[in-house]
């Protein structure tokens, strides 16, 4: 009986952790040490009073691997909770990106039009460049970036995904 290879899935995991030195290294080290993927990672303190940070990891793997990742994370001492937003119900995912394009004339016009249609904001302007700020789902940002590619794309800075469950309940 050959082993059943299940196709990889993309999952967004959200966790609450003690905001102590080394906690991020612990989590990143777990992923690299055990050979798991990190597609995107965001981390920031969410409660100063109780020293809690929220970490959002987008990862890909077959369902048993995703299960392993969750239980490996959950047993780390400073991890309070791990929630798989992809299976927990509906959730909102957002990412912010800053994108620099350089160009003159028609290209510049075109870039501005595209930015407008994506509801990106212009946060810096010179006579030959723009910096756009865009917020949305990662796919929307991917698409925006690919459209700007031929119009003088210089560089992209993305925050990674922040995510939260829909509805009244917290994690």
């Amino acid at each position: 009986m050959p082993p059943v290879i299940e196709p990889a899935e993309r999952h967004t995991l959200s966790m609450l952790v003690d905001n102590e030195p080394g906690v991020l290294a612990r989590i990143v080290g777990l992923f690299s040490g055990r050979g798991y993927n990190i597609d995107s990672l965001t981390v920031s303190e969410v409660s100063h009073a109780s020293h809690l940070s929220r970490i959002t990891v987008v990862t890909t793997g077959a369902p048993p691997i995703i299960e392993q990742i969750k239980s490996q994370l959950d047993r780390l001492v400073p991890v309070h909770r791990v929630v798989d937003l992809t299976v927990a119900g509906k959730s909102v995912e957002r990412e912010l990106a800053l994108i620099k394009v350089r160009g003159k004339g028609e290209l510049r016009q075109e870039a501005l039009l595209i930015a407008d249609s994506f509801r990106a904001r212009t946060v810096d302007t010179t006579l030959e460049s723009f910096v756009f700020e865009i917020t949305g789902k990662p796919e929307k940002i991917d698409q925006f970036v690919s459209l700007l590619e031929p119009l003088g794309l210089v560089e992209v800075s993305r925050t990674g995904v922040a995510a939260i469950g829909r509805g009244a309940e917290g994690m």
């Binding site: 080394g22 239980s71 959950d74 780390l76 001492v77 400073p78 309070h80």
Partner: protein, 586 residues
């Protein structure tokens, strides 16, 4: 209790309040204040080692044989890095340790100061948890938390890294009674619904097997007792991993012997052919499962483990129960009795009939010799003379370890200390010293190989200094035997660097340390020489010259399933046992 004291005094006070009686360590610049605080008290006894790796293995032997937390104290830099092997060993075998490391003063951290290393960075993946204490006001809490984390849930090693200025700083000490961990609250009781489902599956089983592991030992002696009670009540056969030996008595007729790569034929065949398997405190390690996609293909699997990440890691199970072995087994017993469950006696009789046929293959058989000592014969002779004594066994890693597991039989838990997960050569002697510290009146024997023993042999000196009369029983075949066996298996018998030339004269070496050396090469002298060894109340290094060519059998070759074992009556099958795919595995 709140009291002002220095960081170094807090460390000692915390150890005392945690009930620590012994610690293993080696001083150095960054822990001198703690050593000074130690000087001013008599409650915690310190065993001075010769190498920090030895300190950690001693603490492991101490912990595993006594059920207490093992405590280590080492200095910064090389002190900490030398401890890494032992910490990793303890992590893989789930041994509760607290390892205190000195660190350069906080203002020098990151400056590549003398004997500085990033201890928490280095030990992060090889500890259950670790701490760098930068503030004296955190120190007492962290010390108590470290003990809590080390011994609760799945046990493991915890490092507390303390910069030297924090050791000198003054702050308020708080006792352990005021500490409660915010998040780490492992689940002990199993889900009642799942326990009920497990009992139903177990009662319906026609070909059941209980596959037990080190988790039964870690759960405490009570877990072994409940396991025995359930086995007796159900009449089901019991096997165990290397780490679980002793949880179930080897003299019991329901005992099948160890399973896995060098386990018995009956244990492995029963694993392969069973219809209900209960994995109790074990983790479906690759030494156990053999070829994964052919592992016990027709069974329903129940898995009891305190660590949720062990569930479905290697083998998908049908019924996972998260909880402590003792609690879960107790509840299974209660439900079994409450439901007036009865095993299927007829099916069970047939199953035992089959098992007896497998047993009749005598998979641990070997050819004794009158001219040369067979290593198996040496273990048997040792066992026969010490089995009725209060004896603890440790091992190094390799062929001798497997022969010890096969031919030395254990009736009680906590009597067998071996490096299972990491396979650390050099573990056995320091572990034996740790065991002897915990059990000063008992007979403690390190069953060793001549290669492994040289990895931590310097600890002979520790044994002498502290009057710890450990016995080192070396099966000397002049080879790194397991390496040689695998070179036979995979590399056409080309013994690339597996032969030890220039071995020391172990008898003179023992004497040089101030111990006793005994050599034996003749089967006729073996019993007498062993008798001499166990009756000397000093450390003994016993150099037992054995057959150089013996291989460990039976064996599941890598990449093969349980029902394709190589048996001692057909050892020639070893030559072609492993295919190209199997060669890639270890």
């Amino acid at each position: 209790m709140m009291r002002e004291m220095t960081g170094a005094e807090m460390v000692m006070q915390a150890l005392i309040d945690q009930g620590v009686e012994h610690m293993f360590g080696y001083p150095g610049g960054a822990v001198l204040p703690i050593y000074d605080a130690m000087f001013h008290q008599n409650q915690v006894k310190h065993i001075l080692v010769r190498h920090e790796q030895g300190a950690v293995h001693m603490a492991e032997g101490y912990a595993r044989s006594s059920g207490k937390v093992g405590v280590v104290l080492v200095t910064s830099g090389p002190g900490a890095t030398n401890a890494v092997t032992g910490l990793t060993d303890a992590l893989l075998d789930s041994i509760p340790l607290v390892c205190i490391t000195g660190q350069v003063p906080t203002h020098l951290i990151g400056s590549d100061a003398f004997q500085e290393c990033d201890t928490v960075g280095i030990t992060r993946p090889c500890t259950k948890h670790n701490y760098l204490v930068r503030d004296i006001n955190d120190l007492a809490r962290v010390m108590h938390e470290a003990f809590y984390v080390a011994q609760n849930g799945r046990p493991g090693p915890v490092v507390v890294d303390i910069p030297k200025d924090v050791q000198f700083a003054k702050g308020m000490y708080v006792g352990p009674e005021n500490i409660q961990h915010r998040t780490y609250q492992p689940r002990l009781k199993g889900d009642p619904e799942k326990i009920k489902a497990a009992v139903e599956m177990l009662a319906k089983a026609k070909r059941p097997i209980l596959y037990t592991g080190g988790g039964v030992i870690n759960s405490g002696p009570e877990a072994s007792r409940v396991l025995r009670e359930f086995a007796r009540l159900s009449g089901y056969p019991v096997t165990s991993t290397l780490m679980g030996l002793g949880a179930f008595p080897a003299s019991d007729k329901q005992w099948l012997g160890m399973l896995g790569m060098h386990g018995t034929y009956e244990a492995n065949m029963a694993m392969h052919d069973c219809d209900v398997m209960v994995c109790i405190g074990a983790r479906f390690d690759d030494r156990i499962t053999g070829r994964l996609d052919a592992f016990s293909p027709d069974s329903k699997k129940i898995h009891i483990d305190i660590d949720p990440s062990s569930i479905n890691k290697n083998v998908k199970v049908d019924l996972p129960i998260i909880g402590d072995v003792k609690h879960v087994l107790e509840d299974i017993l209660t439900v079994w009795r409450g439901m007036k469950a009865e095993p299927d006696r007829r099916a069970l009789a047939g199953w035992w009939g089959q098992i007896d046929k497998w047993r009749a293959r005598k998979s641990l058989a070997f050819q004794p010799s009158s001219s040369i000592i067979k290593p198996q014969q040496a273990i048997k002779a040792l066992y026969d003379q010490v089995k009725d004594k209060d004896v603890y066994i440790t091992t190094e890693v390799g062929q001798h370890q497997m022969w010890a597991a096969q031919h030395f039989h254990f009736e009680e838990p906590n009597r067998w200390m071996t490096s299972g997960g990491l396979g650390t050569m050099g573990y056995g002697l320091p572990a034996a010293i740790g065991v002897q510290v915990a059990h000063p009146g008992s007979l403690v024997i390190d069953i060793a190989g001549e290669a492994s023993i040289q990895m931590c042999l310097q600890e002979m000196s520790t044994a002498l200094q502290f009057d710890l009369p450990v016995k080192i029983f070396v099966l000397n075949n002049e080879y790194m035997g397991m390496v040689r066996q695998w070179q036979d298996l995979l590399h056409g018998g080309r013994y690339s660097h597996s032969y030890s030339e220039s071995l020391p004269d172990f008898v003179k070496l023992a004497e040089a340390y101030g111990g006793v050396g005994i050599r034996c090469a003749n089967p006729a002298d073996l019993d007498g020489a062993i008798h001499e060894m166990i009756n000397v109340n000093r450390p003994v290094l016993f150099d037992c010259l054995v057959d150089k060519t013996e291989n460990v059998l039976p064996m599941i070759p890598s990449g093969k399933p349980h029902n394709e074992m190589i048996m001692p009556d057909h050892p020639e099958a070893l030559d072609e046992a492993i295919d190209e795919e199997g060669k890639m595995l270890v």
